[in-house]
Amino acid sequence: MLQFIKEGLSGRNGQYFLIVAAVMLVAPLIFWKLDLPFAANAMLLCLMFSIMAMAWNLLEGYTGQLSFGHAVFFGVGAYTTMILMLYYGVTPWVGIFAGGLVAALVGLALGVPLFRLRSHWFALATIAVGEIFKLIFISWDYVGGSAGLQSPIVPEEQKLYYLQYAGSYVYIYLALGLLGLELLIMYPLVRSRIGYYLQAIREDEDAAMSLGINPFKYKMVAMFFSALFTGIGGGIYTVRFRFVDPFAVFDLISVSVYITIAGILGGIYSFVGPIVGSFVFVPISEYVRVYVVSRFPRFYGLHVFVLGVILLAISLLAPEGIMGWLEKKGYLRKREEGGEEG
């Protein structure tokens, strides 16, 4: 793993990375000092969506399986973290990872039937699965049904154990740490043999199979990590808002589609594309919502309409996303291997 870190941090891209990381580490302190909770919350959302969009992209960008159902993993992760904390007193420090793991297992279980489907069919089925999960959680009493679950406020001395802090500042560092972890796992993964197998499956599943690659097996690997980190994203949501309900966490538009837009906007053939996409997309959507829609509530829906315009523009004009576009224009150095990033 060490040589991957070294490799990742060398060169011009590595310098960009360090600068960005430094800014990210300092920014919450500034938001906190200046009392800018809105900006801090937007940053947290950016990070949360970065984690999830990157995970989503392992399935889409690398493996070619377009999922509109990542809300399932997000929701399962969020609920697992909450239930462990609420019913069993398990600290979210463990619960977030447990949530990721449960989401990953759900992912594997869903993968068995879903990966028998290809292209359109897979995308369609993921939408249906998302709706099924929402409906089931609405009528499942153990998880609080449609009322959802809220964790109680804990005494001061248990704050660290239950990870309860006011505002988003602490959670930004949590999310940064988890994003770092994701990079540490994903980067070696996509540069390993598995990563190239996945891309082979994306390009031509039958050809990949004829070369002795078992598409199902490697799709399942991709699904595992994709669901794992999306579930972890759900865990962050739980500790941050300390409230989950089926309508918020299993929402097709504000979870699944947002993840998809963030990923596609950033560029699905780029490793860091989804992060860039999240940091562009989430602030736009938040800004439009708070400063435009609130002023003109009569025109509610306009903010999602704007997202539609953005999405259409990308898919028609720059299907390779921001990172792909930057590389094409020569602002970014392409990776030596070419195939994966270009």
Partner: protein, 449 residues
């Protein structure tokens, strides 16, 4: 000073650029450090420019669904609050604070719990509000009140009815409106009253409800209290309101259970569908009793037409209450002159909420000053906890406002209304507020004109 900053930034930038051009890991680290320093300096400069002012006004934060599907309701609630605050300020503001004016600062929840929480944080830390009002949907109120509890900011909730809100042992949360369990208990009182009046015709009860938190909690409370009161629950049917396109099977299941009374918890579209299908399937219980929401929504009233006659609904407020509550008539006249619409259950509850908060602010002003925010918020909390407002000071059909240790107003109550042949709801229960005699049992569909 700005010139110096600009110059400094320029120099640093050129150095950074130079460093980056030369590449190399250690140098890029250096560059990162430089960037950090720049940001910190900029932040420090920004911070120095802050400043405070004298206490001429007291800010109160409000989180409401100002956009989204409930924007119409949100606008209504906002009007109720603004109207009350205008009256309070015109009458001399908070006298114990030398006539300081109340200023409402609004945040939009868009109907989402997480957005509401983020907005509450913004209002509390950025706008430094002394107290919070809102937030209509129970799910949003849950997260907003949690933020308030954490920051030790008193929150007064005039209009969310989920029983769980006041079952959390919060110290900073107060609710003036009765909640769904209290309403369910009142439903039992009403049915007992009907039975006494018309000779025990109601024994078998069926329930149909939509499956979000509100409908589910209501149905659960109904089951509990009606069973306790000795009624037989013969059928409970739930459905998913967002996607329902036909209610034939649901109504038939109810019909097969042959109930005397049907209790309904529905939103607008499904309420209309329910009434239409009941007519189509010739389903004739002796009475239909709804839990407000869809059934009292103006678009339901407008669209259901004569099929909605004789249906009972629980309400918090009704247009004809002015005949029984003189203060209400007076306020409503002024409100109507200003906005061109009558007060309704939502705007009246928020109007009342703002006044209740005002009484607490008066009390708090005697003990603390908003200059010390923390102390003042605590004083408001204490004032709310010991508040006791008699019913005649309110425009609501309540016995008054007095909070229990969970922050629930124990003196609130609802009313029961029935749609009569003029297409309007009339108050029929409790007797002290009634303006009409109930029609019971409701005529069969086949006997109607």
């Amino acid at each position: 000073m700005e010139r110096y900053i600009c110059k400094a930034v320029d120099t640093i930038r050129s150095k950074v650029v130079a460093l980056v051009r030369r590449r190399g890991l250690s140098k890029s680290l250096l560059a990162a450090i430089v960037v950090i320093v720049v940001i910190i300096v900029a932040a420090a400069v920004l911070m120095m420019q802050g400043g405070g002012g004298a206490v001429k006004e007291v800010k109160v934060g409000v989180v409401l669904p100002l956009s989204g599907k409930l924007a119409e309701t949100g606008a209504d609630l906002k009007r109720g609050l603004e109207f009350a605050v205008e009256e309070i300020n015109a009458a001399g503001g908070i006298k114990s604070l030398g006539g300081a004016k109340i200023v409402l600062v609004f945040g939009d929840s868009a109907g989402k719990p997480e957005t509401g929480a983020a907005e509450a944080e913004r209002l509390i830390t950025e706008e430094k509000v002394v107290a919070m009002l809102g937030s209509y949907q129970s799910a949003v109120t849950k997260t907003v009140s949690e933020v308030c509890e954490r920051y030790h900011v008193p929150m007064l909730n005039p209009e969310s009815t989920s029983p769980t809100l006041t079952a959390r042992g919060y110290k900073w949360f107060f609710r003036t409106t009765p909640h769904d369990e209290m309403f369910a208990k009142q439903h039992v009182d009403f049915v007992n009253w009907l039975n006494k009046k018309y000779g025990n015709q109601i024994k078998r009860i069926a329930i149909i409800h939509e499956d979000t938190e509100w409908g589910t909690a209501t149905a659960r409370a109904w089951q509990k209290y009606f069973t306790q009161a000795g009624y037989q629950i013969v059928k409970v049917v739930s459905y998913h309101a967002a996607t329902i396109t036909s209610m034939d099977s649901e109504i038939d299941t109810l019909k097969a259970a042959n109930p005397d009374l049907v209790l309904v918890a529905s939103y607008v579209q499904d309420a209309i569908l329910f009434v239409q299908t009941a007519k189509q399937r010739d389903f004739n219980p002796k009475a239909i009793l709804a839990q407000d929401a869809g059934f009292i929504n103006p678009s339901y009233v407008k669209q259901v037409g004569k099929d909605g006659f004789y249906i009972f609904s629980r309400e918090v407020f009704n247009w004809d209450l002015g005949q029984k509550i003189p203060k209400l008539k007076e306020v409503n006249d002024r409100y109507k002159a200003k906005y061109g619409v009558d007060l309704n259950g939502n705007s009246a509850r928020d109007y009342t909420g703002a006044w209740v908060l005002y009484y607490a602010l008066e009390e708090a002003g005697k003990k603390a000053s908003p200059a010390n925010l923390e102390e003042f918020r605590k004083a408001i909390r204490d004032a709310l906890a010991s508040l006791n407002i008699p019913g005649d000071k309110l425009i609501m059909p309540w016995k008054g406002v007095k909070f229990d240790s969970n922050g629930q107003n124990t003196l609130g109550q609802g009313i029961v209304v029935q749609m009569m042949e003029d297409g309007k709801y009339h108050t029929v229960f409790p007797e002290e507020f009634a303006t009409a005699e109930p029609v019971f049992p409701m005529p069969k569909w086949s006997e109607r004109g």
